[in-house]
């Protein structure tokens, strides 16, 4: 059992207990528990979350992918501006990108208006930001490797030799 193996298992199913992981990897539950605790302390395991198909729940939730062009700064490059952006709660995910723009920011809000306000009042005016392009998400088909549509039915024969 390696630390990486435990992390891979937990990344797929955060509900796995140390006892289950120990059984699946042929190791000791106490030892697995300690390794998990260490990974939590080291901020390797950042948090445990649940993947929810929000399209199946009535809710006011709007997502937009905002492309942000910025001018890198001496000594800190893109990091300082990225930090100013990712500290906003509305910025759910922030990536530094190669290509025609610099930051990809996934922005979450309750309405399109709310996101538009955030982009125009908070994000675009930041010093060093030279342009933004917002794309609103219409539907999420797949997230974190999981297809969000209807669960596939089992198609196997019950017994086969």
């Amino acid at each position: 059992m390696s630390n990486k193996e435990i992390l891979c298992l937990l990344e797929k199913d955060a509900k796995l207990t140390p006892e289950q992981i120990a059984a699946m990897t042929g190791s000791n539950a106490t030892e697995v528990g300690q390794l998990i605790k260490q990974a939590e302390d080291d901020h390797i395991i950042v948090k445990y979350k649940t993947l929810i198909n929000w399209d199946k729940v009535s809710n006011n939730r709007v997502l937009a992918l905002v492309e942000v062009k910025i001018t890198p700064q001496r000594d800190v490059g893109f990091d300082a501006i990225a930090e100013r952006i990712y500290k906003f709660a509305e910025a759910r995910t922030v990536y530094l990108m190669s290509g025609t723009y610099d930051l990809a920011v996934l922005v979450e809000g309750h309405t399109m208006q709310e996101i538009a306000e955030f982009v125009t009042r908070k994000l675009a005016p930041i010093e060093g930001v030279t342009g933004t392009t917002s794309h609103f998400v219409l539907r999420c088909y797949k997230e974190d490797g999981e297809i969000l549509g209807t669960k596939e039915e089992a198609k196997r024969q019950a017994v086969f030799l």
């Binding site: 289950q20 596939e152 196997r156």
Partner: protein, 397 residues
């Protein structure tokens, strides 16, 4: 109404004596019972619970869109044979000429049938470990050969014992049919034992027909291909397929690799009975070989986790269960109850709605065991273990 068949079936039956010589499956009533029940957790399957990786399915769909709907060469698509040749060399260190030593078949089942029909004359004996996959003795009988079963057991890790094997060799022995990693036991054959069997094959001039369909599904060890052993390539027919490794059971695509003369003989039967493996499935197999290593690695890692959890779970209940290092089956000893295999399976299904396969479905010496397939979701495996424990608590000796 007239019939072309004689009425007196004792003289000459409608069906051939050869087919009649094969006993029907002894667990038919078990299957019938299962069909009437809901909410059964089935550990009775013999296939992956993964759907074929999308890139493979997509390649087949694209081939249909482009109109690849014709026959291929009898041997199979040249590109597929070339890729397979490369795969076998890189994975197992065995080289086969794609033009004359490889044949693409309709699953490994067809390859097995062809290998038997191409090499076995009436009365020839084929030696094999028991318990074994149900088609092994049947395929020998259908070729008018005689299966000779070499019993294996839990104490010997279900590995065929070379001295016992050699003691069973007679002047009529033609081949050894090897099926490791094993369905139903999950056993693998360690290399030293394979070498001893290879020596027996050389001493007695026997063919090796090696069904290595589970070659990719081994845990913590490396698979050794029988044909890679010294002196074995020229007397081994290697049988394999895509069903288990790439989760492609329904595509029915497999292969045979072997000496030119045997492959030519097998191809002769194949061209008259099958023509060629389905073109769509061949395209899918090509994609599987070229671009699916990551998917296979992920599936194998996943099976391994479930394997360890399930075997530990069985042992915690009190079963004696040898560690299966291949395929996706556990073959626990059910001696902690008073039931024989068939009764155990029937009662477990009726009382706890968990389906397992009686060991006797795979030969008499499977008695005292049941086959459990752990290619089932983790929650279902855990629930099955809970139910099996309840069952054992009620029926323990």
């Amino acid at each position: 109404m007239t019939t072309i068949f004689p009425q007196n079936s004792s003289e000459k039956g409608i069906t051939s004596r050869r087919v009649n010589s094969i006993a029907p499956s002894g667990i038919r009533k078990f299957f019938d019972l299962l069909a009437t029940m809901d909410n059964v957790i089935s550990l009775g399957v013999g296939e992956p619970d993964f759907t074929t990786p999308w890139n493979i399915r997509e390649a087949a769909i694209y081939s249909l869109e482009k109109g690849y709907t014709m026959y291929t060469s009898n041997l199979g698509m040249p590109e597929l044979r070339q890729e397979l040749s490369l795969h076998l060399e890189q994975s197992y260190g065995v080289r086969y000429d794609p033009d004359s030593e490889l044949l693409i078949t309709v699953g490994v089942s067809e390859a097995l049938d062809l290998a038997m029909r191409a090499t076995i004359d009436p009365g020839d004996q084929v030696l094999m470990a028991a318990p074994c996959y149900v088609a092994y003795p049947a395929s020998v009988l259908l070729s008018c050969g005689e299966p000779v079963m070499i019993p294996t057991n839990e104490t010997g890790c279900f590995e065929i014992d070379p001295p016992l094997l050699e003691a069973a060799v007679s002047s009529r022995s033609k081949a050894i049919l090897s099926g490791y990693p094993s369905n139903p036991t999950g056993a693998v054959l360690p290399r030293p034992k394979m070498e001893q069997i290879a020596e027996i094959a050389l001493r007695h001039n026997l063919l090796i027909i090696s069904d290595e369909i589970y070659a990719s599904l081994v845990y913590g060890i490396e698979h050794t291909c029988f044909a890679s052993l010294p002196g074995m390539r020229e007397r081994t027919v290697l049988l394999g397929g895509f069903s288990k490794a790439y989760a492609m059971t329904g595509w029915r695509i497999g292969f045979a690799a072997g000496p030119r003369e045997i492959i030519a003989a097998m191809t002769k039967i194949h061209q008259y009975s099958i023509m060629c493996a389905p073109t769509m499935a061949q395209v899918a197999a090509l994609e599987a070989l070229r671009n699916s290593k990551n998917s296979v690695d992920e599936m194998v890692a996943d099976y391994n986790h479930r394997r360890q959890l399930f075997v530990k779970g069985l042992r915690d209940i009190g079963f004696s269960c040898f560690e299966p290092k291949g395929a996706f089956y556990a073959f626990p000893n059910i001696g902690l109850t008073n039931f024989n295999s068939e009764t155990f399976a029937e009662k477990l299904l009726a009382e706890e709605k968990v389906a397992v396969v009686p060991g006797t479905a795979f030969g008499e010496c499977g008695e005292g065991h049941v086959r459990c397939c752990y290619a089932t979701s983790l929650p279902e495996l855990e629930e099955a273990l809970v139910r099996i424990k309840q069952f054992v608590n009620r029926h323990q000796k």
